[in-house]
């Protein structure tokens, strides 16, 4: 597959552009970004703050969490106390610590999966739009068929075949979700492929890789970035749903979906502890959606 070559240059190239041309510009990229952020609506600002908090929690989980991820520190289902802020889970592990480590596992896995989905779907979408004709038809029909089965159902079928492991989970969700990325990247890049500068690059004898990454990709970045946010939410929710069903991220790793499942019985006693991991999932997806909503408005130049 051609996923590796075009996925990497996306960010380094952006950084390179910013470094290479600072002189003629009045404001640097960061200053512009900062100005835009200050003018962003409240919902987007809150969303960004929430996302940053999650990232900090995930990255510095071992420093922040009061107890290790998998250590039995108390008895089963202890109530909330000073010692265990949110009590303990069904085995006696500290709930707060597992919530914090869950940020790292759940978000990390969803993020890797989304990146993989974009690498596959994005590069195939670009290829289909550049090559056209036979290759485009074949890829398009294959994607149509894959999309004819609901994603969660298809994932369940495949998981029953290959068994539930982390690698299987990531690859299956990434491949299935890449169909949606393929559709979008093919559609937006179709508008760019017909432009004169692409024709010029072709006549110049540039290779396929160059045309994909240097000519087309920079011009379709805004919709792809917005889609990345939406796809991340979707992947995140799908993986959480699978974990909740006991078929996603496997114990003993702390993961929000499985934590809801493991502690669900507490609900029947009026204890809201199982809602905490579910709420953590909900809060992050809402935050990402708010930011994407604003970003879409910004880049599409007032769509409605």
């Amino acid at each position: 597959m051609t996923d590796a070559p075009d996925s990497k240059p996306v960010q380094p190239e952006d950084a390179l552009l910013a470094e290479a041309a600072p002189a003629p510009r009045q404001r640097s990229r960061w200053e512009t970004a900062w100005r835009e952020l200050r003018r962003a609506p409240l919902s987007a600002q809150i969303g960004l703050i929430v996302i940053v908090c999650y990232i900090i929690l995930g990255v510095f989980a071992p420093v922040i969490a009061p107890y290790p991820e998998n250590e039995l520190v108390g008895s089963q289902y202890e109530p909330w106390s000073d010692e265990f802020v949110f009590g303990t889970d069904q085995l006696g592990r500290d709930m707060l610590s597992r919530l914090i480590f869950g940020a790292r596992n759940t978000i990390g896995i969803a993020f890797v999966t989304t990146i993989l989905a974009f690498a596959i779907g994005g590069s195939l979408g670009l290829l289909a739009s550049i090559l056209g004709g036979w290759a485009d038809q074949a890829l398009g029909r294959a994607v149509d068929v894959l999309m004819a089965i609901p994603l969660l159902i298809f994932a369940l079928v495949l998981l029953s075949i290959v068994g539930t492991s982390l690698i299987n989970l990531i690859v299956i969700i990434a491949v299935l979700d890449s169909t949606r990325v393929f559709r979008l990247s093919r559609a937006v890049s179709m508008n760019v492929v017909v432009m004169d500068f692409v024709e010029a690059a072709r006549l110049q004898g540039e290779g396929l890789g160059w045309i994909m990454t240097r000519e087309i990709l920079p011009n379709i970045m805004p919709p792809l970035v917005a889609e990345f946010g939406l796809r991340f939410c979707f992947v995140f929710l799908t993986i959480s749903a699978l974990s909740f069903l006991g078929l996603g991220i496997q114990p003993p790793a702390a993961d929000w979906g499985s934590m809801v499942r493991e502690n669900a019985t507490l609900i029947n006693y009026g204890d809201i502890t199982p809602l905490l991991p579910a709420g953590a999932i909900a809060l992050l997806t809402v935050a990402v959606n708010f930011v994407v909503d604003w970003f879409l408005h910004k880049t599409s130049g007032l769509k409605e």
């Binding site: 609901p150 079928v157 029953s160 809602l275 579910a278």
Partner: protein, 326 residues
């Protein structure tokens, strides 16, 4: 009328083709099984003879196309084969046909989905149209923000919150939706209240956002502006100009969201321990009971494809441009 008929037939043909290809995909997943699969199902203590017998029973000694024809022939007659769960006791255990597992649960799932759809569709359409007509008002903004929030939360979050408040703190409904074949209708409705409510909340948000977008899109088109400029009354604009063109997008929105119900139903059934096909599938996946998984997946896929087909056909037969050809 001829053009309509031809387009509908074309679309139907495409639908049948998709069903065919999807059935091949679902069938061929069994080809991807690792070689030691029989051992995994039968347990480590299985003798080579039992493994061979099991492989013969699932037909691994014949070629794939032959098995596909047998399988699909059986499926068309309502025979999905036998569950692997019985294969563990190949010697004397009694066989359970997949159909006997699936049939009663399919009825339960259809009941739950129908209940959710009957409430959700009119509610979502009404809210969506109101939000579109009073665009940018406070009502619209509040609705926009709440629906954006509720489409981004996981189904089980909504489900447990409803359970916490409506079944535990204020015991109005049952927290577990246990029904059996002889549960009377009204009792069944009450027991299904919470799962149905969860599904309604989840799809109403999706559906009304899409309705709003479709109506706004429509009201922005030049011929609506024209009719406004020539001074027609709002009701005449809506009924005479907008509505005939709105059926297609609305039908699309409904079908797409009913298809979305399929995914929601899996999680919701597990939360409320509802004996439906979604829960059956999840159990079968963790037991790696492939025939049951295939049957469930095929049923979900057929429902999904049919709904999309219906949406397309509805938009074809209500398309004024096709109905009144020049």
């Amino acid at each position: 009328m001829n053009a309509v008929l031809r387009t509908v037939l074309q679309r139907l043909g495409l639908g049948v083709l998709t069903l065919f290809v999807v059935s091949i995909i679902i069938f061929s997943t069994i080809e991807m099984l690792p070689g030691d699969f029989a051992k995994a199902i039968l347990g480590q203590s299985a003798t080579p003879e039992t493994v061979a017998a099991f492989q013969r029973e699932i037909g691994l000694d014949r070629s794939a196309p032959v098995r596909y024809l047998e399988w699909i022939g059986g499926v068309l007659q309502g025979d999905f084969g036998n569950s692997f769960a019985s294969a563990g006791a190949l010697g004397g255990g009694q066989e359970r046909s997949v159909l006997s597992l699936v049939a009663p649960r399919l009825a339960n799932t259809l009941f739950l989905a129908a209940m959710a759809a009957i409430i959700a569709v009119p509610l979502a359409l009404a809210l969506g149209m109101l939000a579109a007509l009073y665009r940018n008002s406070v009502f619209d903004r509040i609705v926009n923000l709440t629906t954006l929030t509720s489409i981004s939360v996981p189904e089980f979050f909504v489900a447990y919150i409803l359970m916490l408040f409506l079944a535990v703190k204020f015991p109005i409904f049952y927290s577990l939706a246990s029904v059996s074949a002889d549960t009377p209708f009204m009792e069944r409705v009450v027991r299904c209240a919470l799962p149905a409510m969860t599904l309604v909340l989840v799809i109403v948000a999706h559906m009304m956002r899409m309705t709003r977008a479709a109506i706004i899109n429509l009201l922005a088109s030049p011929y609506i502006e024209m009719s406004r400029l020539k001074g027609l009354s709002p009701s005449r604009i809506i009924y005479h100009h907008a509505l005939p063109n709105a059926w297609a997008p609305i039908a699309n929105v409904i079908a797409l969201n009913l298809a979305y119900l399929i995914v929601g139903v899996v999680v919701v059934e597990v939360v409320f321990v509802y004996p439906g096909i979604g829960q059956l599938m999840v159990d079968a996946v963790s037991r790696r009971d492939i025939p049951v998984v295939q049957a469930c997946a095929l049923i979900f896929a057929i429902a999904y494809i049919l709904l999309n087909l219906l949406a397309d056909i509805a938009s074809i037969v209500t398309n004024p441009r096709l109905l009144h050809p020049r």
